[in-house]
Symmetry: C2
Subunit: 225 residues, 2 copies
Amino acid sequence: MIAKLQMQLNSALYLRDPQTSDLGQKIVKESIFLIDKIGFESFTFKKLSTQIGSTEASIYRYFENKHRLLVYLISWYWNYVEYRITFETHNISDPEEKLRIAIRLITNQLKDDDSFPGISESVLQQIVINESDKTYLTKNVDEINKEGVFRGYKSLCETIASYMIEINPDFEFPRSLTSTCLEAAHQQVFFAAHLPRLSDIKNAEDVHEQNYQYLSTIIFNSLKK
Amino acid sequence: MIAKLQMQLNSALYLRDPQTSDLGQKIVKESIFLIDKIGFESFTFKKLSTQIGSTEASIYRYFENKHRLLVYLISWYWNYVEYRITFETHNISDPEEKLRIAIRLITNQLKDDDSFPGISESVLQQIVINESDKTYLTKNVDEINKEGVFRGYKSLCETIASYMIEINPDFEFPRSLTSTCLEAAHQQVFFAAHLPRLSDIKNAEDVHEQNYQYLSTIIFNSLKK
DNA sequence: TCAAATATAATAGTAAAACTATCATAACGA
DNA sequence: TCGTTATGATAGTTTTACTATTATATTTGA
């Protein structure tokens, strides 16, 4: 890697930008591991502070509460996915090919690399699978939505939906189909692992490849004229 | 209504069957209103007990904790939907028609009737929209799944998937498509209301009709041979 | 019908969660 | 070096999520 990358995130996502300090980066890095390990419900700032040798009060200076921290992490993830889609579809004009690349990227198993030091992409992806819906399934969704914390997810949805519209301008549900598939992309992995009767994806085989096949099938069939 | 109906639910869903006592029925009835009003996160047995003029300890005799109560309510809902599908598809042999009826029923706005006294179906449906995913998005999902608490949802999924298989035996993803659509059925209503850029469904118009059109489109297109 | 079983209520108590506040000190930047 | 800012240390509050005990009311069944 020649350039170190940094994600540009909406400032409504934090009280203090965690990317600008040592403690902030530690909070983000270790929260990913801790949430993955014990689950979001059991996760507390107290436990996190012990983990990183700091204090609760210090963490509260970065994030209003643990829910906001989760929203930050999930938002980081969707930003990352969109960044990769933009990168991989660069110079490609065929909308079908762009859509295939996007489906590949939203179903792909992430591997850790060092382009974003301090973030374990693979563990973060696990958090997306297990916890991401909790970012918006909350009583104050309208309030935090006004602040723009879901902008990254919406933008990704818009991008993918635009490929669908290019393929078939008459298709009536590009955004719905995109959000349904973005959700299904992690839902099906969850079901395969925990509630296998809700899915045809077999945990024993290559989950991500099957997921790609599944989503491609329903997307391209739905888009047929 | 000639007969009073009672839902037959898995006994793993409760410590003591709430349908067998006055207090139990009050717990179920009032919890629906309270969860809808303040959201599951803010909901506590303390608040519920105040509401119904009882005590925390008494409620704990019916449900291990508030999560189990939520699982009970959501399970009741899916059982109800499957009961209605079974009823409405009775004597119909055409799988396409059965599937259409099922899609209609999972996207339909429920109205309160008195066939199940003490349950407000319409408010319960709101809870499904806002909270149902929290039943399984929990660290102990495998543990509670072993007890069979998700049997109702799986059974519904199986039923609808079987219609798909009848229509096209070669379709590879009947269960996945069903679970994706069952989830999308409430997800899209949520998005229309709170995150409209993630959906093509317009909150100003008939949300349920649009949802039916959307799901029909992707399901029947996916099933085409 | 009376005794026994069972359900509910009343009360109390605990550990942890989810914060908020204050003050001292360390580091950093102009 | 002086002032600002970040962090740490400490303490305190309210609420949540329980558990335990005892008293009283109600049901049931012998």
